[in-house]
Amino acid sequence: MLILNCPYCGRDKDETELAAGGEAHLTRFGPGSSDQDFEGYLFGRANPKGLHFERWRCAAGCGKWFHAARCTATLEVFGTYKAQTLEPPRVIKDAITAKRPGWSWRNFS
């Protein structure tokens, strides 16, 4: 059972209490954008075997959306963080670097 800590209410939640929301940090494109950008936003997914940034909702808890950094090959969780950010905070990045040196993700700084 996957257990994630909700960064809003601070509780450890089992996956049965959470709703998965797919890849995080996608740039939203809407009306007026190119077909390519809109397709990428709606359907293009990194879907890596390894480090993945993703959205989760504390569905049976405080109800908030948050983010998690997780490995899809080992199910290891590197950390969770609040959703109001375009990139993970330093501590999460450092936690990932400790385990996966040299990692990168789309256009993160």
Binding site: G22, F43, G44, N47, K49, T72, T74
Partner: protein, 414 residues
């Protein structure tokens, strides 16, 4: 290759089975091939087979990182049906189903195709309307299905409790020539026929990189060295995004675990395949007597080939109301496979941004039934650059908005 026949069985019985030959060869890789297929699952092997059989292209290697048929092809619950809503789906799945009818004779290998009938239960008003619509569509597509009454359901499958209380059975979408086949035998039969045509099946050989020059593919890097090719087919199911990434493009796919389980073997009690999509469970009985049960996918991306335990619990719990006898069964084994789910729940059989490179993926939770039709169409696409069977399944449909939306037709699609 010696032909399999009743005489061969008799002959071998007379000499303690000492004369059976290896089913396929285990060759050393050549430096180059006309065509390389990555992935020796059912779809990859069927593609190679029809490249040889229909187009005379036999300088082919099928490269597999594990053992052939060890991916989703050897992990699925073997439901075969073609009762889809959209015309392009009905065409390719019905092509596959009809090829299954004579596949054992064609391959000279018993794939144990058993057209015992598949029923998809309607347990809500919404499902009644949905399945009636699909069966009307099937009539127009020339796929023989019908919507049947609860009484007929009970007659065809007496172990079912159709009275609810939570989800009474209100009817079913019935395809009498749907059924199942032996999944391993499908992979083995195609592999044997490919090997017989001189093709190389390279097991325990992982593709680690894709080489290109001037926008065209030139070969692949593998754990056993570099191998060149003129054309490349990627047929790796759950690992589609990983292999596409080697070629520098992204796919509209997410990879998630899907699980199945089997019970202890019991006496014959159910001679049809039943799918209950509202409660997310489906069941059939194998020739060994095990009840074969499958459920829904995990909600989040993973490549772990196991999946979360609570899904098994939910699946079995859901089936108990409709099949009360399940509550007395011991479950023997459970396992998972990584399925490649696309944005519109339909597969991708397509050219790619890399020249002379083709991709066949996105079959998700329901591609076993499609293996012969998919191999047939994809081989044509690779040989000729186009195929009527695959035309609507291009990667460009996501940009153009021409979805083949089967997800509205069936929440789960095995």
């Amino acid at each position: 290759m010696k032909r399999n026949s009743v005489f061969a069985v008799a002959r071998e019985a007379m000499r303690q089975h000492s004369g059976w030959r290896r089913t396929w060869a285990n060759p050393e890789p050549k430096k180059s091939y006309d065509v390389i297929i990555i992935g020796a699952g059912g779809h990859g092997l069927a593609t190679a087979y029809y490249l040889g059989k229909n187009f005379g292209i036999t300088n082919v290697a099928v490269i597999e990182k594990g053992w052939l048929g060890g991916g989703n092809t050897g992990r699925n619950t073997t439901i075969i049906r073609s009762n889809y809503l959209q015309d392009p789906s009905a065409a390719i799945y019905e092509k596959a189903r009809s090829l299954y009818e004579t596949l054992s004779q064609d391959l000279n290998y018993n794939v144990m195709f058993s057209p015992r009938g598949v029923m998809m239960l309607a347990q809500t008003q919404h499902e009644i309307r949905g399945y009636q619509r699909t069966s009307h569509a099937n009539s127009l597509q020339g796929v023989k299905t019908e919507f049947i009454s609860p009484a007929r359901v009970k007659e065809l499958c007496p172990i079912m409790n159709i009275d609810g209380p939570r989800y009474p059975v209100l009817g079913a979408h019935w395809q009498p020539r749907g059924g199942s086949a032996r999944h391993d035998a499908v992979a083995w039969g195609y592999a044997r026929a490919c090997s017989d045509m001189g093709m190389h099946i390279l097991q325990k050989t992982e593709v680690t990189g894709i080489n290109q020059q001037g926008g065209n593919v030139t070969g692949v890097d593998t754990s056993r060295g570099h191998i060149s090719c003129k054309k490349l087919g990627m047929v790796v199911a759950g690992h589609a995004s990983v292999v596409a990434d080697m070629a520098g493009f992204q796919l509209p796919i997410e990879s998630v675990p899907l699980q199945a389980l089997v019970s202890e073997p019991i006496k014959p009690c159910m001679d049809v395949v039943v799918m209950a999509n509202t409660v997310h469970g489906y069941m059939s009985q194998s020739d060994k007597g095990e009840m074969v049960i499958g459920g829904g996918t995990d909600a989040y991306n993973a490549y772990t080939q196991r999946g979360s335990f609570h899904h098994l619990e939910e699946t079995v719990r859901a089936l108990i109301e409709t099949f009360p006898m399940v509550s007395r069964l011991k479950m023997l084994r459970h396992w998972g496979g990584i399925v490649d789910v696309t944005g519109d729940r339909s597969p991708i059989l397509s050219k790619t941004p890399l020249g002379n490179t083709f991709i066949n993926c996105g079959w998700g939770t329901g591609g076993f039934k499609a293996i012969p039709g998919s191999g047939w169409g994809f081989a044509e696409l690779m040989a000729k650059g186009e195929s009527p069977l695959t035309a609507d399944f291009g990667l460009d449909r996501f940009r153009a908005g021409r979805f083949i939306d089967e997800s509205v037709a069936a929440g789960v699609a095995h």
